[in-house]
Subunit: 407 residues, 2 copies
């Protein structure tokens, strides 16, 4: 078991969401003494939206969710921990269909209103008998807390992760909460990010999708731990409507901006929590690129910096190695001019327009790099494009988690 | 000082090349008791070709070489070790111009016939006084061996690297030799790959460039240590013509194929030697992708596998974790179908058409992974595209070299 991340944040106080009931059970996907199946029941009429991995080799759960999202409505979410069911062919698909059928029968709904995720070992079909026994137990279980649900979806995460925000729509205050797991590692498999957002706001599926997609672009799409992408990454948003606001159908509706902003804050916090549990992470790193040819170009340069092993090891070593940042800008393949490039650590500019800043004060840079929250800035001096992404450092802990075992 | 790589190969017996004279000297770019300036004099009429980093932030040496290559002729190569002169603005450019001017005066040639590389610390202009003193000493030095030159261009490489091949052109046997440095690390800076190929064949600059570019596509473009790209990477090829073969001007000329093949073999060996000195490397890894939509697509998928930290740590852990290979195929963004994908370690297929091979013999896989030369195969089952790339594993040694120090 890996130690709790030094970057762990406390689980927040999260309100209940009308129309959302959480239950957990032991399916026994692994030989561990903990709950590993989460069943979240959703009120009739709940809207759903989602974003899934860009992997060309997605798990059958991802394929199921993509198809189900087209219908726009959800009555249940099932999350299995300990077995990702990825790369398991027709037997994996059969397990997903069985879970959906059984839960649909339990709730008297259509199977495509049952959303399913799995995370854990790859290449082993999810055992249908264990899933069905776990579901039977979960259906009968007493409701549990958000933190218990957040703990049950974890694999080798080192802390539970949740986020909360509110918005005012007309005369109603609506709640938005979320839980997430990642990027812990379960031997011998890859990390997977699974995130779920719940709100009691009434919002049409298409608008919820628009809000989630926009939030995703500024949160989950802006984090990286090691540049690797899971076959199972999934974020789903559910809106029950229990708050009783006038249903939102367009961004022009009053209060839609506020709800979108709340969803955005929850997604951003969830995304950053994943970075805080990055394998071996000892420092949280914010990379901001300004002066790029466009925002998209800035985003790609920022990810090039954030994914660079040499930048990440320099930060682990608390070394103000701006040459590695120059390298990472140069290799991004985006418009850049060496003699316009400036680099900043914390609040201190260490290189300006292609040259080291002679005699810059090293004390605040050294002090900044000794901290747990590191800011790296690169100004390309070309245009108005800007982007911020988040990552963690690359330490011996990453190697220990990912290399120091045999499957 | 890092220990000699366990993957080190012995320096080969390399013949002298007519028209090539090697000399080394101490410029003292760092406070180290070794030669750090290499001066290679080339006979009049020597053809030159080159490939340089794709970084958008290249060093002034790279810019100088690119401009000089347009002239096609070389009389000298100067390599400075201990200071990369990268990101040093007009002062860096002045140092390069001074070296070229002084060497041109010494040899009574045009400055653009002097090729220059530097490797080492970034952001510190190359000190012109040290360079000039080093040059003065090098001009007067006695000629040295290939291995002494290979040692002098090193920074934190752990072994000297050379390669040799021969070709028959008409009635003449021509020699092709090469030396290279990389990808050791010199605190606090990035690795740089500098490679130089020399032949006594007579070949026109444009044809030499064609041969070197083709060789580069199958060698230096097919290796990766950590996905990072130096601002200074440079490979140059020099052909003196001393062998007296009928000058080659076209691939249709008799013997051109043989020379191109010999240059290809030398470049491939040099490229693989760089991987063998990869930071912290304990295993040499060959990744072959077959069945892709095109060769280019196969190359991108192979690099996605070879650059994946999760694949590289699994290999370090001697773990047959084919799920991570699936993940790396999936994230490459290239055409792939999960249910057509097959994965191989060594000679054993562990997953076939989207499913684990049930009951495959784990003994040969485990034995293969315990070795120093690891082969990973992925067949995409789509088309005839194929590619092979080479990398090394990702170990605690990489973190130790790159994070466990302060500049």
């Amino acid at each position: 078991m890996t130690d709790r991340s030094p970057l762990a944040r406390p689980f927040p106080i999260m309100p209940d969401i009308g129309g959302v009931t959480r239950r957990i059970a032991r399916a026994g996907y692994k030989d561990w003494g903990r709950c590993d199946l989460t069943f979240i029941e959703l009120a009739e009429g709940t809207s759903v939206a989602g974003v899934t991995t860009q992997s060309k080799c997605p798990s059958p759960e991802v394929e199921w969710c993509r198809a189900a999202l087209a219908h726009g409505r959800a009555r249940a979410l099932i999350v299995n921990a300990g077995n990702s069911n990825a790369f398991t062919g027709h037997r994996g698909r059969a397990a997903v269909e069985a879970i959906a059928a059984r839960t649909a029968a339990h709730l008297n709904c259509a199977p495509e209103q049952v959303f399913i995720s799995s995370t854990g070992v790859i290449g082993v079909p999810l055992p249908i008998d264990k899933a069905e026994a776990g579901l039977a137990a979960a259906y009968e279980a007493a409701p549990c807390s958000w933190e218990e649900a957040a703990a049950t979806i974890m694999t080798t995460d080192t802390f539970t992760k949740g986020a909360v925000a509110q918005a005012v729509i007309g005369e109603r205050t609506v709640n938005v909460v979320g839980i997430i797991k990642g990027s812990g590692m379960i031997a011998p498999d890859m990390a997977t990010m699974l995130g779920y957002v719940f709100t009691d706001a009434a919002v049409a599926p298409a608008l919820l999708q628009q809000m989630l997609s926009a939030a995703n672009r500024r949160s989950f799409s802006c984090i990286t731990v090691d540049s690797d992408t899971s076959t199972s990454d999934t974020v789903l948003a559910f809106a029950t409507g229990a708050a009783g606001n006038g249903p939102l159908a367009s961004m022009d509706d009053a209060g839609a901006d506020a709800l979108a902003a709340a969803i955005g804050r929850v997604c951003l916090e969830l995304a950053q929590l994943v970075v805080c549990d990055g394998e071996g992470a000892s420092k949280f790193v914010e990379v901001t690129v300004t002066g790029a040819a466009s925002d998209e170009s800035a985003h790609r340069v920022a990810l090039s910096i954030a994914n660079s092993p040499l930048v990440k090891t320099a930060i682990a070593g608390e070394d103000a190695n701006w040459g590695r940042v120059v390298m990472a800008v140069g290799k991004a393949g985006e418009p850049a001019e060496r003699d316009l490039l400036s680099i900043r650590f914390g609040d201190t500019e260490v290189a300006r327009r292609g040259l080291a800043v002679e005699g810059y004060d090293e004390a605040p840079v050294a002090a900044h790099l000794k901290g747990q929250e590191i800011r790296v800035g690169a100004d390309l001096g070309l245009g108005d494009g800007r982007a911020t992404v988040w990552t963690c450092d690359l330490t011996h802990g990453y190697i220990a988690i990912n290399a120091d075992y045999r499957s």
